[in-house]
């Protein structure tokens, strides 16, 4: 808003050199050379027009003491009028075109950084929270744009000050020095002020953040407070944090209220000196009334420009820091890169061969300049891991958390890059496939279903935008039936809200199944949900799964009883190694790893377990 003076802005540690940053920023403006030329031209013209007006006014007033030529005076006043008009028009074009240039540059910047971010593999997104990336793409670029706008404003101010000061020097050097005497005071005030303001602002923001999180938390838990009738308790706490924020922000606001009065004081001293020295000069006959006029006007004319020049450097640094954060994001190289062969296949047969796989979550170049937590990431997930999966086979992977189940799925989809060994599909190294076409042929159903804040229809056809309504309904039908769709307010056209929140957990899973079926992948990778869903939906999910894995090479990270009993083969992973494999019956007979896992994770889903639980509770009830 109004006073964009950067008084409370942060300082950042930077890695890029100023020169390199400026060069890159300028490169973005290069595409708008013509508009930039227009901006610069009008900027200069505006400054000229604005600085000529007071000079001509001085001339007019001086005329009153000498020739008093009416015609000449009328001419001068008319010229000033024209200058006023031109100054306004020039300024209009400057602002209009600079808004366009800045708007376009910010747009290009956003587009570039967004492309760069979306090009990254998942290791990047693991490292950086979504909120941070969003703020870099949107907020930093906006701040950068603001600085750029502020930049042209400052240059314009600077030009006016320079032109008028040169003119003033030719008229009266000592008085000019008095006016310039304000400069160090304005700078010192602005700088020392900035220091305090930053500190106070930080305190104020913290206090406010406390209030906000308090309100957020208590309103989220309002039902608990109401059930237990604890409103008074919350209210008393609120009074405390609200008052604390009031005091902190009042202190901050007070600091800001000192700035302008102090600067006005500097101005007042300059005025007194001008009147004093200028008065003596006039009494001595060396100075005219018009000169007085010019110097007095300059005090007012220079006030804001000088302040904005004083704040230029910190502001400029803020803008550079914003651009640095953006460039750092653009410059981070993606880890997963497509091989040179760029093979495109219409479909896979689905024979997978993993040989001597080595993998650990190694960090790429750190874009956010943060300390990388070392140690944990370096632990090898797979060391010399091999696995063959036949065409059309369904394979369940079971194991404790951290056994490498999800990692395996994520390597097959090339979400991460592995360091050693090879994965081939139908005999071709997966690194040689065209990355996007490859991923399209692999259907992935993540553990937590993700849906878009869009219509149900668009969600189902997300991977195949050309799908017809019939195909969509077919896919939903395959995924456990489409009758529930009719219960939605607008059927297929219902907007299912952020993350599909209008739907139940189970329905979300069904939609994801339908989405995957519509893509008709050659290979299915399914990370089963652990969340329990209502029994009705549960049976549908089973049906959907049954249809989906039929005739398809499928890899399932299993959490459901039904799954482990229906797949062709189960492998038990432990610390990145296969410790057992076979089907359910064989492995149960073996009575080792799998049998243990089964008793911990799967057995309680079975009917037999429930019967036992009932007995157990009965005994408990009787004992009590």
């Amino acid at each position: 808003m109004g006073f964009h003076l950067g008084l409370a802005s942060e300082e950042y540690d930077r890695k890029y050199r100023d020169r390199d940053l400026v060069k890159r920023v300028l490169a973005y403006f290069q595409d708008h050379k013509q508009s930039m030329l227009i901006v610069i031209l009008f900027l200069t013209l505006t400054s000229l027009a604005n600085s000529l007006s007071p000079l001509l006014s001085r001339e007019a007033i001086n005329q009153l003491e000498t020739t008093r030529d009416l015609g000449y005076l009328i001419l001068l006043i008319s010229v000033i009028f024209v200058l006023n008009l031109l100054g306004w028009i020039f300024n209009f074009f400057r602002q209009k075109y600079s808004a366009q240039v800045i708007g376009d540059v910010v747009l290009t910047l956003r587009q570039d950084v967004n492309k760069a971010v979306l090009g990254h593999d998942l290791s990047f997104f693991d490292k950086y929270p979504t909120g941070k990336i969003v703020s870099r793409i949107n907020t930093d670029s906006r701040d950068f744009g603001q600085t750029a706008g502020y930049f042209t404003q400052t240059i314009s101010s600077f030009l006016v000050v320079i032109i008028v000061i040169i003119a003033m020097f030719t008229i009266n050097a000592p008085l000019t020095f008095i006016v310039l005497g304000m400069v160090p005071f304005i700078f010192i005030t602005a700088f020392s002020f900035r220091k305090i303001a930053r500190k106070r602002t930080l305190e104020g923001q913290r206090a406010l953040a406390t209030v906000n999180s308090f309100v957020q938390e208590t309103i989220s838990g309002i039902q608990i407070a109401k059930t237990f009738r604890q409103e008074q308790k919350l209210y008393d706490k609120f009074l405390g944090v609200n008052n604390q924020s009031y005091r902190a922000n009042l202190r901050r606001a007070y600091v800001f209220q000192f700035l302008f009065p102090i600067l006005s004081l500097v101005q007042a001293f300059a005025l007194v000196f001008i009147m004093w020295i200028g008065g003596l000069n006039t009494l001595g006959g060396q100075m005219r009334a018009g000169d007085f006029y010019l110097f007095l006007q300059s005090l007012w004319l220079f006030f804001f420009p000088l302040l904005s020049i004083a704040m230029f450097w910190p502001n400029f640094q803020t803008g550079l820091a914003a651009s640095e954060r953006i460039f750092a994001l653009i410059d981070t190289p993606p880890v997963v890169i497509q091989g040179r062969s760029n093979i495109i296949l219409d479909a896979f047969k689905g024979e997978i061969n993993i040989q001597n796989l080595d993998f650990s979550y190694i960090e790429g170049v750190d874009a956010f300049g943060e300390n990388i937590r070392s140690g944990k990431e370096r632990i090898k997930v797979f060391n010399n891991f091999s696995l063959k999966i036949k065409q059309g086979e369904s394979l369940a992977i079971v194991g404790h958390t951290g056994a490498g189940k999800s990692s395996l799925a994520k390597l097959l989809t090339r979400f991460y890059e592995f360091q050693g060994g090879s994965i081939t599909i139908d005999g071709i190294n997966i690194k040689e496939f065209n990355l996007k076409k490859y991923r399209k042929k692999i259907g992935i159903i993540p553990q937590i279903p993700f849906l878009w804040a869009d219509t149900l229809e668009n969600n189902v056809k997300y991977g195949k935008p050309s799908a017809t309504k019939e195909e969509i309904l077919w896919a939903l039908e395959q995924a456990g039936g489409a009758d529930w769709v009719e219960d939605l307010p607008k059927g297929l056209n219902t907007n299912i809200r952020e993350r599909g929140n209008l739907l139940s957990m189970g329905q979300k899973q069904l939609v994801v199944f339908a989405r995957t079926l519509l893509e008709d992948p050659s290979i299915l990778i399914l990370d089963e949900a652990t969340a329990s869903v209502d029994p009705f939906t549960e049976t549908r999910i089973q049906e959907a799964l049954e249809k989906t894995i039929k005739g398809r090479t499928s890899i399932i990270i299993a959490h459901r009883l039904w799954t482990v009993r229906h797949v062709d083969r189960i492998i038990v992973l432990d610390h990145g190694k296969i410790v057992e494999e076979g089907n359910h019956d064989e492995l149960m007979q073996l009575g080792e790893h799998y049998a243990k896992l089964y008793n911990t994770y799967f057995r309680h889903q079975s009917l037999e377990y429930i019967e036992k639980a009932r007995e157990f509770t009965k005994t408990v009830k009787e004992v009590n």
Binding site: R94, F260, P261, T600, Y601
Partner: protein
């Protein structure tokens, strides 16, 4: 609310809404402007406002006065008269120092007022939120409420400082120079400032009207851009998996382009701010006019010309500052509207303070209950009938959206039904005192909410208790073991900054909390996932403990709980399609049977094998 609200020592929430503590409840109904005015002028604020007004006038007079002194001084200097030289310098110095000093005091007062405004409106809003019924809170998204308590309340601060204070300063800044011209200069010199004022007001109005919608659009586009990007990045795995990066890039571009267009449009409107031209014209016109008078011999000295033009130059500040002050006012008023809108939504539920306050036993029956959400046409519940004896356990099963949760909310009157009757111990729930009824009914939510304080405080939230009592109930709820393993035991902070508890652990803390509250009717939405059988066992045990001796409604996915319930309600699309015990239903209900047959799909011998392994 500047009267210390701590004075109220009555605990009942009703009190918060009472007249003497909430003095703005009447003003709220009269629109945002009246409400804002009432806040600005409340209590000791009036004196502040008065001081700010007079302070502004005095320092504007001082800074305009300087121009007059300067003009007179110059005239004397030109005429070679130096007798008053020192006096002039001292006067200019005095005025020059006094003006910023007053300005500062004024600023401090204004800020105090502004911060008070923020504090008091937030206080009013929050108090109001606490007093709202649960049905209000159910209908609000927390993000929306937060936007109001943060941004909208903040805007009211900005409304005072800088917006209104600057507008007032601008107004005085227009009036005072004109008064000075009337006092010290030939009347005809009013021409330039009067013409300026007229055209300024007209063009300013047009400007504000044009800028408003564009600024609104700009903010909206930015919000959208954030939302879209956030969504894409949250779903990055889906984007990559479906290889739709290009689609997402295009989507973002379309959005960013919308923002860019609004930005450029706003830039153009701001560039076309005509008052800046007008003020330049006014100064030049004044200069020309004054020079003309001097030439005519109208008795206007050169120093006076300088003073006059100096006064006109003072108009630059109000002109410049108005580029955005009015936009802030507009934002603040719409912020106030949003706050009032939320506050004016009153509860539909009749509290029935005179109603029964007896201790209930826990018998519940529904008779032909139909419920339609206010403002909706479709019934969520349709013709529901069932009966529960005190102490029984009812399992409710059905897909999400079949009305399970809504049904339970009718018992504690979080909603009032549309048709039929809900009876507790044979009396219609509407005959009870609402406070009394609700105090005997507890909920354990699906997504258990814990406050970010210690485990001890969370468990004893509803009832001040000793540590021994808390440990006892924690043991009953199977929570004691995991709590003692936490770094600081019962003093461990949970929630945002502290230890993250798993779903199963949170649930057991909530069960402990319910033990302490000891409700007669317990409603348990138990849909959390449990991954291993140990946790599952513990939760089962805790639940079987908590439902002893009270009527319990369990919304559940756990077949084990469904099976041991005294009554099972099978719901579909807002109706109960079947009810009875497990043994009844497995025989009579096709739908119910489908769950068990489909879900397990097991051979007899398979079952036997499993048993053998165990």
């Amino acid at each position: 609310m500047s009267k210390n609200p701590r004075d109220s020592d009555n605990n009942l929430m009703m009190e918060f809404m009472a007249e003497e503590i909430d003095p703005f409840s009447n003003v709220r109904q009269r629109g945002p402007k009246r409400w804002l005015t009432a806040h600005i002028l409340q209590g000791s604020n009036k004196i502040f406002v008065l001081m700010i007004f007079s302070g502004t006038i005095v320092y504007t007079v001082l800074s305009s006065g300087i121009m007059i002194i300067v003009g007179n001084a110059i005239d004397e200097f030109i005429s070679g008269n130096s007798t008053n030289f020192a006096l002039f310098i001292v006067l200019i110095f005095a005025f020059g120092v006094a003006s910023p000093f007053l300005h500062m005091i004024n600023g401090l007062l204004t800020e105090t007022l502004a911060q008070r405004m923020e504090r008091d409106t937030r206080h009013e809003f929050y108090t109001n939120l606490l007093g709202k019924s649960q049905s209000f809170h159910d209908q609000q998204r927390i993000g929306d409420i937060m936007a109001r308590t943060t941004n909208d309340v903040r805007m009211l601060n900005f409304l005072i400082s800088p917006a209104l204070s600057l507008i007032f300063e601008s107004f005085i800044g227009l009036i005072v120079p004109i008064l000075f011209i009337i006092l010290f200069f030939p009347t005809q010199l009013l021409l330039a400032p009067i013409l300026f004022t007229i055209f300024f007001l007209i063009t300013l109005r047009r400007y504000v009207n044009r800028l408003g919608p564009v600024s609104g659009r700009l903010r909206m586009e930015f919000g959208q851009m954030n939302a879209i990007l956030n969504e894409t990045l949250s779903g990055i795995e889906v984007v990559k998996g479906s290889a739709t990066e290009d689609h997402e890039i295009r989507k973002y571009f379309t959005n960013a382009k919308g923002y860019r267009d609004a930005f450029v449009e706003q830039g153009e409107i701001m560039a076309r701010y005509i008052p800046l031209l007008l003020v330049a014209f006014a100064v030049t016109l004044g200069l020309g006019h004054a020079i003309f008078l001097n030439l005519e011999g109208g008795g206007l000295e050169i120093g006076q010309i300088i003073a006059y033009v100096g006064l006109l130059s003072n108009l630059r500040f109000p002109t410049f500052i108005s580029i955005w002050t009015f936009a802030v006012v507009r934002l603040a008023v719409s912020g106030a509207e949003r706050l009032l809108e939320a506050m004016s939504k009153e509860s539909d539920i009749d509290e029935n303070i005179k109603g029964q306050t007896v201790e209930i036993k826990g018998g519940v029956s529904f008779k032909n209950v139909t419920f339609i959400y206010p403002g909706s046409a479709q019934p969520v519940l349709h013709d529901i009938n069932f009966e529960v004896q005190p102490g029984q356990t009812v399992a409710i099963v059905g897909t999400t959206g079949s009305g399970k949760t809504t049904l339970t909310k009718l018992i504690s009157r979080l909603y009032d039904l549309t048709e039929g009757q809900v009876l507790v111990d044979g009396y219609d729930v509407r005959e009870y005192n609402l406070e009394s009824l609700r105090s005997q009914i507890s909920y354990i939510e699906q997504d258990v909410f814990l406050f970010s304080s210690s485990i001890f405080e969370n468990i004893s939230f509803g009832k001040t208790s000793s540590i021994d009592q808390v440990i006892n109930v924690a043991k009953e709820a199977q929570a004691h073991d995991f709590i003692t393993k936490l770094p600081e035991g019962y003093d461990t902070e949970v929630g945002e900054r502290g230890v993250q508890l798993s779903g199963g652990e949170r649930q057991r803390v909530a069960i402990a909390r319910a033990f302490l509250a000891d409700p007669k009717i317990l409603i348990l939405d138990d849909s959390t996932s449990a991954i291993d059988s140990k946790t599952e066992d513990k939760i089962q045990y805790a639940i079987s403990n908590v439902l002893k001796g009270r009527t319990t409604f369990i919304i559940t996915h756990r077949l084990s709980q469904i099976r041991w319930a005294d009554l099972i309600l099978v719901m579909k699309r807002g109706t109960v399609i079947a009810q009875g015990t497990h043994e009844d239903l497995i025989r009579t209900s096709e739908e119910y049977r489908a769950i068990f047959v489909k879900r397990f799909d097991l051979e007899e011998d398979q079952l036997l094998k499993d048993v053998a392994v165990v």
